[in-house]
């Protein structure tokens, strides 16, 4: 039953991607992107990865969609006709997909309890985390305590992303000059 639900959701995601790739209306593309993220979040719930599902629903479907709508406000809502036929990108994408699919053949079977990832440190985390940290949610214990350095790095990455956006988009009002990057968007209204 669970496999059936996951397969139906994955089929719907594939369908969403096909429509997304064929659509020329950017508003529809943004909304379909949100739909795709919600389906992904549902798949993650079905896989019992509720922490990741929460993040996917909030970031992928929620905030990214709002940000893309905000970006859409600055440009035309119809995608421009491509100048070249997209055969080369298609070939590159298919080649990469084939290599990735070939790579999955070397992986252990899905949810195989004997897979290396499940026999290395995971049993120790599951056995000791509650006693050592007093935190029943092992995900939180691993994230914040066992892998505290990783999470510090991730937080720094998030901070750097924010600082990068500030550095790119902040405008200096004092000298009143328009930087060239500000006119890069087609269809932007001129003052």
């Amino acid at each position: 039953m669970e496999t059936l639900i996951i397969n139906v959701l994955l089929a719907m995601m594939a369908l969403a991607v096909v429509i997304l790739a064929r659509s020329r209306n950017l508003f529809a593309v943004v909304v379909l992107g949100g739909v795709y993220s919600f389906l992904m979040a549902t798949v993650l719930v079905a896989l019992d990865a509720v922490d990741v599902a929460m993040t996917e629903a909030a970031v992928g479907a929620g905030i990214s969609t709002v940000l893309l709508l905000g970006a859409l406000h600055l440009c035309k809502s119809e995608e421009a006709k491509p100048i070249h036929r997209p055969w080369l990108p298609l070939a590159v994408a298919c080649g990469t997909a084939a290599v990735l699919a070939y790579g999955t053949l070397g992986l252990p079977a899905f949810s195989d309890p004997q897979a290396p990832i499940h026999t290395h440190v995971a049993p120790r985390y599951l056995a000791e985390a509650l006693a050592a940290t007093g935190v029943p949610n092992v995900v939180t214990a691993v994230l914040a305590s066992y892998r505290g350095f990783d999470t510090l790095g991730e937080t720094t990455v998030v901070f750097t992303a924010g600082a990068g956006v500030i550095a790119l988009l902040r405008r200096r009002k004092k000298n009143g000059e328009r930087r060239p990057a500000e006119t890069d968007f087609p269809g932007e209204r001129q003052p």
Binding site: G70, V135, L143, A144, T151, A163, V165
Partner: protein
């Protein structure tokens, strides 16, 4: 959108519960799904929702730019500061065992503050990116 009565009323009803859910996800992350990252994103989503319905300028009055930019750095500094607190109390960097007399209580305390740092930074970054994106184009009119 600013004159749509239904949206305004529904937003007013929903936003307290979204914020409450963010707090729940933050503090219940030790026991159920959730944690700092999710809580930060949900809190930011509540403010973004408010901004969508009531306008960016109103949202900027509620959560000013200066506060958002402070949150950006404060979370990382809090996280890194927990590491230095461990050093000062005689342990290794990010060693929570020394943060309290009882090692398990120390772990709990360390995880609590580290998650708080993650939530503050994530919430600040999401809001800042949203503010920067939506402020573009509107100032030029």
């Amino acid at each position: 959108m600013r004159h749509d009565l239904v949206l305004r009323v529904i937003a007013k009803l929903l936003i307290p519960f979204i914020l409450l859910f963010a707090v729940y996800v933050q503090f219940h992350g030790d026991f159920g799904p959730g944690g700092g990252f999710q809580a930060g994103v949900i809190a930011a989503a509540a403010v973004i929702f408010y901004a969508l319905i009531y306008g960016l300028d109103t949202a900027r009055c509620v959560v000013p730019d200066r506060l958002v930019e402070t949150m950006l750095a404060a979370g990382v500094l809090l996280y890194a500061g927990i590491g230095f607190a461990g050093l000062a109390l005689g342990g290794n960097y990010l060693d929570y065992f020394v943060l309290a007399a009882d090692p398990v209580a120390g772990q709990h305390r360390g995880i609590f503050w580290v998650e708080a740092g993650v939530a503050i930074t994530v919430c600040g970054v999401m809001l800042k990116i949203f503010y920067m994106f939506t402020a573009r184009g509107r100032d030029e009119d």
